[in-house]
Amino acid sequence: MFQPTKLIAAGALAVFASAGIGLSAQSDITVAMQLEPPHLDPTSAAAGAIDSVLYSNVFEGLTRFASDGSVTAGLAESWDISGDGTVYTFKLRSGVKFHDGTSMDANDVKFSLDRARAEDSTNAQKALFSGITDVSVVDNSTVKISLDKPNGSFLFNMAWGDAVIVAPESIDGIKNKPIGTGAFTFQNWVQGDRIELSRNSDYWGDKPALENVTFKFISDPTAAFAAVMAQDVDVFTSFPAPENLPQFEADPRFQVLEGSTEGETILSTNNKMPPLDNVKVRKAIAHAIDRQAIIDGAMFGYGTPIGTHFAPHNPDYVDLTGNSNYDPELSKKLLAEAGFSEGFTTTLKLPPPSYARRGGEIIASQLRAVGIETEISNLEWAQWLEQVFRGKDYGLTIVSHTEPMDIGIYARPDYYFQYDNPEFQSLMTELNGTTEPGKRSSMLQKAQRMISNDYVNGYLFELAYTTVANSKVRGLWKNAPTQATDLTGVSWAD
C-alpha cells in the first residue's frame, strides 16, 4: 500500500472533519432514498415516496401496518364490528394532538374519510373508501362507520397511507407543510434535496429514540453507492444498485437487510390480444421463462420466485412455481398444439425500472429460444400508463404490482390484463363479504390457484427490499409491507 497517501488522507480528514457534513450525533439519522415525494399529502397522490417519508412518522390512520404486514391498532385503540359486518365502531385514543396543537377527535376522522370519498376527491385509492355509506360522530372519541355490504378487508384498507387522519384546520397547507399526529413533526423541505423531521415531544405513544431525522433524495445509483460508502448517509432504503450490495456486506461498517416487499413482478399479458388470448400460448410462455436466470441476471440474485400473484411472506401464500416450471421443450410442444409451431411475434413494452429493462432483455431471449419473437420498446412511466395501462395497446409488459393484497385486480375485466373469468369474479365478491379468517384464507388460496392455472400473466418474482445501513443502526423494518420507512422504533447502538 502506498503509505504517503494514507498520511495525506489522515491529515486532510483532520482538516475537513470539523467542516464535514453527515457526521451526526447519535440521536440524529440521515436516511436516503431514490425518489423524492412530489408533495407531502399521502391522501392525494399515488407516489410511494410520500408514504416512504411520512407514513407512521408524521401521519397515522385508524389502524396501521406492523413490520410483518399485519394490521394493528393505530389512532383507534379498539373497535367493534356489528354482527352483519356492515357497521364498524371505532374507539379513538384520548389525548392525541396534531402537531399544530389542535386535538384529534371523531370530527377529524369524519372529515378525513368524507374528504377521501367525496365526489371531487383526488385520493389515488378512492376504491378503499367506496363501500362507506356513512361516517357519523357518536361522541368525541367514538366514530361509527357504515358500509353498504360486509367488507372483510376494511381494517386492512384503513391502514393504508391513503387513509391517514388529517385535520380540517391544516388541510390547506398539507402539500407543503404536513400536520399529522405521528411521533415526528415535519420541520423543513428543501425541494430537490431533503426533508427534515424532528421528535414530537407531545406524542401519545412511546417517544422515539431519534431526535432529528433527515431524508435525503439521491436518484443516481452510482451516487447512492458513493454516498453510503463515504458515510454521508446512515441508511439507504431500497438501495438501487444491487450489484454493489456484496461490497457492503463484506464491510464491517455496514449492514445489509434483505427483506421482501408487496411487489409482485410479473410479465403482464394482454389476455384479449391474439394469440395471447389462447391459454395454451400463455402456458407456453410461462414454461419458457427461467425465473432464476432473471433474478440472477436482472436483480443480482435478490428476489423470491413466485408462481402466482401473492406475496410469499403472507401466511396464505401457496407456492405454485411448479405449475410453470422452466421447461422449454414443453413450451415448444404447447405452441405447436396451439398452432404456432413456427412461433409468433408480439410486443414487449418496458417501463423504466431496471427489473423491467434488464429483465425484459432476458425474457426476450428466453422467449426467442422457443420461437416467440418480441419487439421491445422502452417507455417512460407516463407513456406506459397511457399506452399499456389505459390504452391496453400491448402484448407483454413487465411491471411490479406493489400494492399490498391486490389479487382483487384480477376480478376487473377492464383492467389492463383484460382477464375476464366470472368464476374468479364471484369468488372475489364472496371474499369481500367474508370476515371469518379461516374461510378467507382458503378463498385466497383458491384464488391464487385459479389465476395460476389460467396462466393469466407470467409470474416472475417478488421484489426484494434491500436496505443498506450503518451497522450500529437498530430497529429498521426489514420488510416493506407498505411503502414506509417507520423510524419510530429506530435507534443507535451504544
Partner: protein, 303 residues
C-alpha cells in the same frame, strides 16, 4: 423578443404533444376515472390548450411562472431556490475552465509544433474524449471515498457558510470544467496562432518588440473574439447541461428540477425552466456582443 415568442410557442407545443397525462401519472394505477377527472380540473388541465398557453405566457410576462402540478408550489420560488445552485456552479466551472484554458492555449501557441504543444494538445484531446459523468465518478472515488477530502455529493446551502457551499460545488465544477477547458484551450491556441501570422504582428516584431510583449500587447486581445464566442456558448451549456452532473452529485439545481419534472410529467415546470434557459442564452449572447466591443473597438460601430 421575437425569438422569445417563437421559443415559447415551440416549447409549449413540443411539451404538450409529448404523451402522458400528468394527472393520471400522479394518481397511479389504482385511481378511478372520476378521481383523475377531479385532479385534472383542479390543475386546470381540462381547459383547452390555447387558453392554457395564453395564461402561461401572460403570467410569465408578469414574473409569475405558475404553479407546479406535482409540487403544488409556485414555480418562481422553485427556480429561485435552484438557481442559487446552478448559476454559481456554472460560473465556478467557467472560471476553472478559463483558468486552465488561457495558460494552456497560450503556451501551446507559443510552443507551436514543439513538445509542449503536442503535450497540451494531447491532454485536451483526452479531456474532450472523457465523458464528464465518468470523470465525475472518478473524482468521487478518489476525493470522497479514498481521500475523504470532500463528501460524495449534496449541496451545503449558502446560509451555512460560503466556504462550505463552494467546497460542495468544487468536484462538480471540476467535472464540468474539464471538457470545456479542453475545447477552450484548443480555440485559444488556434486563434492565437492565426493572429500571430497577421501582418501587424510582423510589424510589431520588426519594431523590436520581444515575442512575449507581442503576444501580450497585440496578439492576445485580437485572438479573444473567437474565445469569447466559445465562452458564451459554454456558459449556456454549463447552465443547462449540468443535468447529469447534478444527478451524479445529487445537487438540487435546475438540471435536476427539469429531469424530475420531465419524468413526472410536470409539464408547466418543464416549459418554464426551458423558457428561462432560452432567456439566459439570449442574455449571455448579448453580453458576449458587448464583450466583443470591449475587446475589439472596431466592432463598436457595428453593434
Amino acid at each position: 423578443m421575437i425569438s422569445l415568442c417563437l421559443a415559447s410557442v415551440i416549447i409549449f407545443t413540443i411539451v404538450e404533444i409529448a404523451p402522458g397525462d400528468p394527472a393520471s401519472f400522479m394518481l397511479g394505477i389504482n385511481a378511478q376515472e372520476d378521481t383523475i377527472a377531479a385532479l385534472r380540473a383542479e390543475l386546470g388541465l381540462d381547459q383547452d390548450k390555447l387558453s392554457r398557453y395564453f395564461s402561461w405566457i401572460s403570467g410569465m410576462v408578469q414574473g409569475d411562472f405558475g404553479t407546479s402540478y406535482t409540487y403544488r408550489s409556485p414555480i418562481s420560488n422553485m427556480i429561485a431556490d435552484r438557481i442559487w445552485v446552478s448559476l454559481p456552479l456554472a460560473l465556478y466551472a467557467l472560471v476553472i475552465s478559463t483558468l486552465i484554458a488561457f495558460p494552456a492555449g497560450i503556451y501551446a501557441a507559443t510552443q507551436r509544433g514543439k513538445v509542449g504543444d503536442v503535450a497540451v494538445m494531447g491532454a485536451t484531446q483526452f479531456g474532450i474524449a472523457i465523458p464528464n459523468f465518468w470523470f465525475a465518478m472518478i473524482l468521487v472515488v478518489i476525493f470522497a471515498l479514498k481521500l475523504r477530502w470532500f463528501s460524495a455529493g449534496g449541496f451545503v446551502e449558502w446560509e451555512n457558510g460560503i466556504f462550505q457551499s463552494i467546497k460542495s460545488l468544487t468536484l462538480p465544477a471540476i467535472a464540468l470544467a474539464l471538457p470545456q477547458a479542453s475545447i477552450l484551450s484548443r480555440v485559444m491556441r488556434s486563434a492565437l496562432i492565426e493572429t500571430l501570422s497577421e501582418d501587424y504582428i510582423r510589424t510589431a516584431r520588426a519594431k523590436g518588440f520581444g515575442k512575449r510583449a507581442v503576444i501580450w500587447r497585440h496578439a492576445l486581445r485580437n485572438a479573444l473574439i473567437p474565445v469569447l464566442t466559445i465562452i458564451g456558448l459554454q456558459f449556456s451549456f454549463l447552465l443547462a447541461g449540468a443535468i447529469i452532473i447534478e444527478q451524479v452529485f445529487f445537487l438540487p439545481g435546475l438540471g435536476r428540477l427539469v429531469f424530475q419534472a420531465i419524468t413526472q410529467r410536470d409539464l408547466i415546470v418543464v416549459e418554464s425552466v426551458v423558457m428561462l434557459l432560452v432567456f439566459a442564452v439570449i442574455t449571455v449572447n448579448f453580453i458576449v456582443d458587448i464583450a466583443y466591443a470591449i475587446a475589439d473597438p472596431r466592432l463598436r460601430r457595428r453593434v
